[in-house]
């Protein structure tokens, strides 16, 4: 045994404790969701999911994620790039703003949008006069989701960008690459794995977000309900089988996220070259964008 190593029994104890905690707090509830969903049989679960209001909620969740994840990917990248590569007045402020959604309760975020865009809000009368509905409609859901998920891409990419500095980009510049080419051929490949991880996290949160979305949604069945909201409604109406089935679907998609993430980590460890990596990257981005929410029910 060397000096920095703990005794074997101690390490074993720690490992056991970690595994037990994991099983008890993470695996067991997950298993319970699936067990509950399938307790009355496969057909009941299937029927619960194929119910029109549930399908509408699934569709709404996918639409909200499909709009907000790409927007936040671009916005997060831009923010991280500004902060990491440039000095400008207000840089600190931008950094604080990026992190703001992490420290503010999502309910407050939702409420803020109601206060701004709602009927009694600042812009409410103006919007109403033009027949634009933001709150209790898709735009409100997207806005609330954008707010809550903004930090994910920016925060995962930022440390890497700061770490890398400008040397490689300047080398490319001296070789005659233009600004956009440098971004495409140097900056982006440099951060691609972190970016994908950020997109996955952002998507997971976008699909699983409850608090902010709950405030702006209005819970109109078949119209403004997302999957997490629908689970709550079903649960409150004592439709446990339906609630469990929808929750299990969310959880299942969460498990797919885990698999996708470990595949990503594998790939990044193998240093896939640009040519081979491109199709795989596209595949992961597409599947990451559509299929991989994280459980948050």
């Amino acid at each position: 045994m060397n000096a920095t190593e703990d005794p074997r029994w101690f390490r074993a104890l720690l490992a056991l404790l970690a595994i037990l905690t994991g099983l008890l707090l993470l695996a067991l509830p997950l298993a319970a969701v699936f067990a509950e969903a399938l307790r009355r049989g496969w057909d009941v679960a299937r029927a619960a999911i194929l119910e029109p209001d549930t399908l509408a909620a699934i569709r709404m969740t996918l639409i909200v994620a499909a709009i907000s994840v790409p927007l936040n990917t671009v916005g997060g990248l831009a923010a991280a790039w500004c902060i990491a590569k440039h000095d400008f007045p207000g840089k600190r402020l931008l950094l604080v703003l990026v992190e703001l959604p992490l420290s503010v309760s999502p309910v407050i975020a939702g409420l803020v949008f109601v206060l701004v865009f709602g009927l009694q809000g600042w812009l409410g009368p103006w919007l109403q006069a033009r027949g634009i509905q933001v709150i209790f409609a898709l735009p409100g859901l997207v806005l609330a989701t954008l707010f809550v998920t903004f930090p994910f891409v920016a925060r995962t990419v930022l440390p890497l960008m700061q770490d890398q500095g400008r040397a490689e980009e300047e080398a490319a510049a001296t070789l005659g690459a233009s600004g956009w080419q440098i971004f495409q051929r140097v900056t982006l490949p440099n951060i691609r794995w972190a970016l994908l991880a950020g997109v996955l996290l952002c998507n997971a949160r976008a699909m699983g977000e409850f608090g902010a979305v709950s405030v702006v949604s209005g819970h109109i069945r078949g119209q403004t309900n997302t999957m997490p909201l629908h689970v709550e409604i079903l649960y409150n109406e004592y439709q446990f089988a339906g609630a469990a089935a929808v929750a299990a679907l969310l959880a299942l998609l969460g498990l797919v996220t885990l698999v996708a993430k470990s595949v990503l980590e594998r790939l990044s460890g193998r240093r896939v070259s640009g040519a081979e990596g491109a199709p795989m990257r596209m595949l992961t981005v597409v599947s990451g964008g559509l299929l991989l929410p994280f459980v948050q029910v």
Partner: protein, 253 residues
Amino acid sequence: MVSGARLEVRGVSHAFALEKRALPVLQAIDFIAEPGDFVALLGPSGCGKSTLLRLVAGLEPPSEGQLLVDGVPITGTDPSRTIMFQDPTLFPWRTVRGNAQLGPEARGSLAANAARIEAALSLVGLDAFAEAYPHQLSGGMAQRASLARALVNEPRILMLDEPLGKLDSLTRLAMQRELVSLWQRERFTALLVTHDVEEALLLADRVLVLSDRPARIRADIRVETPRPRRRDDAGLVALREEILALLGLAQAA
């Protein structure tokens, strides 16, 4: 073959903008490098020599003064003026060939330059490693790959920013010899930044000795010794003493 360019540095001063004040790094630098010259910029570390290269590369505009290539002011980066940095700055997700071809690729002239890329790789002795990734290369090989990447663009001014600073001493000696024969073949104008007096004297025609920050030119020394040079050549040893004295490091021999 493209010949070297004439570089004019006219009254160039430069300062970095720090939080509250300006930090002057270069002061009234004035010199002309004729086409095909090999000029070494020698000075204590942190004196601002690398900043001068960045200005010549066009990565930053100078605070004051003018830089001209063949009479034309430098306004930005250009592949005819490439830098070989102290770190190879290779792109880890590209093979050696992929790295070497970034310049032509970015300019959309990849097909026309295919032969040139292979030639550059074999010139630096890496043809067998064209498909290798940077993490599979030794330090010396990585610097050679970085050199090939610069040469592919047929630079008229090649800037060397302490490119051998991090190599082990044997590799360093070999690379010094290779750099000289490369320069003799290609006749680009070479600007070498180094703080190694011996290296400057072995490689350059002309050594500009810079002062502490803010850097000024303290001496402009011609090195007439014919090549190949030996580091124990009497003339070089005398010059070395002279330069060390200028840098305030005279040895009581």
